[in-house]
Each structure stands twice: as C-alpha cells, then as structure tokens.
C-alpha cells in the first residue's frame, strides 16, 4: 500500500535564485524584545567554508509550543504572534549564516517527560544529495541538557558539537562541520 517516496536531490548551486527570502533569517522581526541571534559557519571536510549552503531552522516558541494541528496544545493565545518558528539563511561567501529568533521552551513528550530547549536544523548545499539534520541546544540549560533523551543518545565526547556557544549579550555561535575531528552530530530522522 505504501508508495515509493519521491527521492531527494541536491539543491545544486542555484537554489539562491528562489529559496532565500529577504526576511528568511528572521524567525521574529529584528528588535523583538528577548530576541537572540544565532550565527555560525558551515564547513566542509577540508575545513573550508561552504559558500553555497542553506540552513533552515524549526523550533517551538518560548512556551515550548507550536501553532500546528499536531501540537494538540497549540500556542498560548496572544503569546507570540510575530513568531514564525521557521528560519532560513543561505550561507555567505564566508560560509556564515544568521538566524534571529526567540529561545524555545522545554518540550513535553510521552508520559510527563521533557526535552531540553532545542532547534531542529536542516543543512542543504550543492554537493549534498539529501539534507543533513542536526539540532541546536542552549549553553544555559545544563540541567535539562544533561537529562535530554536525544543528547543522552549521543556519544558523550560528541555532545558539545550540538550545544551553541555564548557569544555575548543576545548572541550565540553554532558552527556546522560536515566532517573532521569536530564533525557535528547529525541525525537519522
């Protein structure tokens, strides 16, 4: 009964004609109170920046909720109207990307358990036949990170690749390395 899926193909080098939006990096409008900026660079296995990549983010709001029919709780009414939950940033010639957002809240799952605040990330680029999926966790959530079921499934010595680095007031740094000693942890979704 189940059909073959349409296979994935690379975005190629020319996705930049269509996919980036002027306000794509802004999950919330610039200047939103409490907004954080996540910056980073995308690197290949030779340590060179990837200048033709695309970073997409998807995340809960600060209450840990989604305005989506499959989050049965829905958002708290009137909570975060300008919050889009989705961010998209093409990498620049220096491999850099930027997302302006609100920090998500912890998320419930199963029977009263909790996931630490996180952002799901899709990495796409020329030379990638399918996206690679990773997650951004937050450095100021040591306790929840420690208990997070996804982080716990990651070999301890690699967990740090998933945790953003503080970069000053309202600023976090999250580099993505496709290969190498500090290869980012990627997920099988």
């Amino acid at each position: 009964m189940s059909e073959s899926l349409t296979p994935s193909q690379t975005v190629g080098p020319y996705f930049a004609m269509r996919l980036p939006w002027p306000d794509g990096p802004f999950v919330v409008p610039e200047g939103t109170p409490g907004a954080i900026t996540i910056i980073g660079r995308l690197y290949d296995g030779a340590g060179n920046v990837i200048p033709d990549g695309l970073i997409e983010t998807w995340q809960a709001d600060p209450d840990g909720r989604f305005a989506h029919p499959d989050d049965p709780r829905g958002p708290v009414p009137g909570g975060y109207d300008a919050f889009r939950a989705f961010g998209r940033s093409a990498t620049g010639l220096d491999g850099s990307f930027k997302i302006v957002t609100l920090k998500p809240g912890p998320l419930p799952f199963g029977d009263g358990q909790v996931e630490a605040p996180h952002i799901d990330v899709s990495v796409l680029a020329r030379g990638m036949l399918d996206r690679s999926v990773t997650r951004i966790y937050f450095p100021d959530e040591a306790e929840l990170n420690e208990a997070d079921p996804v982080l716990r499934a990651v070999p301890a010595e690699r967990r740090a690749t998933l945790i953003a680095v503080p970069g000053g007031e309202g600023l976090l740094r999250f580099d993505v390395r496709m290969q190498g000693e500090q290869e980012t942890v990627f997920f099988d979704l």
Binding site: S2, E3, S4, L5, T6, P7, S8, Q9, T10, V11, G12, P13, Y14, F15, A16, M17, R18, L19, W21, G45, I50, E56, W58, A60, F66, A67, H68, P69, D70, D71, P72, R84, A85, F86, L107, F109, D111, G112, E115, H118, S122, L124, R126, G127, M128, L129, D130, S132, V150, A153, V154, M178, Q179, E183, T184, V185, F186, F187, D188, L189
Partner: protein, 256 residues
C-alpha cells in the same frame, strides 16, 4: 470529551486522564529510496557528507510539526513563470501539474512548493553562472505555489534546457526543474528535481543515477499528459510528489 473529538484538528492529542502526549510518527524511507550522501559519481559529495554514524532522532513535537506557510508569501503571478515580465519568454510553453501526497496516499494540502530552473537555452539567472548561453530578459525561472485541499498544484513555465557542468569530462545535466517542499512536518521536508521523459542525458547523469532504487528513481521523471495538453497553447507534464507518510500508531490500531 471523547478522544475522537480532541483529534479534530490533527493527530496529536493529550490523553485527558494522564496528560500523556500522543503524537503521529513518520515511516522511515525504504533503503535505496534516497541517494547516499557519499556518492563517488557526484564529486562534490566527498567533503560534504557526514562520516560519523547518524544518531536516531525519535519523532517528537519538533519533528511532527513544520512550517505551514500561508498565502501571505505568494502572489497570483508566482505560479506562472511566463508572465513575470512585459514580454513572453522564449521556448516551449509547458504546464507542470500534479498532486502532493504522502506514502499512505493521503493528499498534502496547503503546502508551499518552490521551484527554480534554467531558461530555454539552459541558462540560470544567477550571478555565479557562466555557461555561455543567452539570458532571457523575460524569464527569471522561479516560481511558488501552494497545494489546494486535494494536494494539487499547477505551474505554467517553459521547457528548461540542458547545460554543462564541471563534474567530469563532457558532463551535461538533463533538463530539470528544482522542487522544494515542506509538507506538514519537519520530517516531510523534501528538495528534489523533476526530469522529463525520454531525456537521453538521464542515463549519464550522476545526480539522477545516485538514487539506487529503480522504482524510486523513475518517480522523478514527469509523465507527458496529452489529456492535459492545451490545444494551440501548451504541452502538459504530470509530476506527482510523494512525501513520507505517517505510520499507524499503536493508539490508532487500538481504537480503530
């Protein structure tokens, strides 16, 4: 309140007595359905694929939800790539239409589709594109549409051309249109390419050939439709797109 009443908007639910959160789960692609991330035929994959084992990511709230980007992003013009300028573009006018559904056969409504392609001469409108073929002042090669309640979409565009690339000696891409889709969940996100039936370059293209499974690979080739071809106006190609579907949860089985 009964459980079925709570399910009216989606499949996620909170079990009233326990507060337990029950969410849908998406089926894994079959092996060979998608290309390997490390594929020697496509040289640029060598330094751009993960080398460490992937870690299993269970489907929880962030994975079963996704961007539902509404009409505010698109205008009427977006699905017709032939009317974005004062004049008409050069080339064969075509209609590209189809249905987006999941592997369980359910239509995927209200999902954004973004496309980009070359012009009739095989040239992209992009600053880093240097193929010596002419640009067309009347063609940008970009479009957007949102699927209707039945998961259907329709673009009007022109037949894209083939173009050379540097992967190997005398490498040419078969004519294709890039498609980007969100589906309804982060798990369903898909970027693919639509090819044309009978294109002799398909046999030589490592990107097309990177998909191991024959049945899956041919899903990327549109079907010519005489029935939908419009007399005196445009050829029609049907391109249905299948995204990951939901698995029947234990819960659904128990209450079916």
């Amino acid at each position: 309140m009964t459980v079925s009443e709570q399910r009216s908007t989606g499949e996620g639910l909170v079990v009233p007595e326990s507060g337990k959160l029950v969410l849908p789960e998406y089926a894994k692609p079959r092996p060979g359905n998608h290309p390997p991330l490390d594929y020697s035929g496509y040289k640029s994959t060598a330094l751009r694929h993960p080398t460490q084992p992937l870690v299993l990511l269970p489907h929880r709230l962030t994975e079963v939800t996704g961007p539902l980007l509404g009409d505010t992003l698109i205008t009427m013009q977006d699905a017709d790539l032939t009317t974005q300028h004062a004049g008409e573009p050069q080339g064969q006018r075509i209609i590209v239409f189809g249905q987006v559904r999941d592997s369980g056969g359910r239509p995927v409504p209200d999902t954004l589709i973004e496309i980009w392609q070359t012009n009739a001469a095989g040239r992209y409108r992009h600053a880093r594109e240097h193929h010596p073929a002419p640009l067309d002042p009347n063609f940008d090669g970009i479009g957007r549409a949102i699927t209707d309640a039945g998961g259907r979409y329709r673009f009007i565009t022109i037949q894209p051309g083939s173009y050379p690339w540097g992967n190997h000696y005398n490498a040419w891409r078969p004519a294709h249109i890039h498609f980007s889709l969100f589906g309804r969940a982060f798990t369903q996100r898909l970027v693919t390419q639509m090819y044309f039936p009978g294109d002799p370059l398909l046999a030589y293209d490592p990107i097309y050939q990177s998909v191991p499974d024959d049945k899956a690979r041919v899903r990327m080739v549109a079907e010519f439709s005489m029935e939908d071809t419009q007399p005196e106006w445009a050829l029609a190609y049907k391109f249905d797109i299948v995204l990951r579907g939901r698995e029947a949860s234990v819960f659904e089985e128990a209450h079916a």
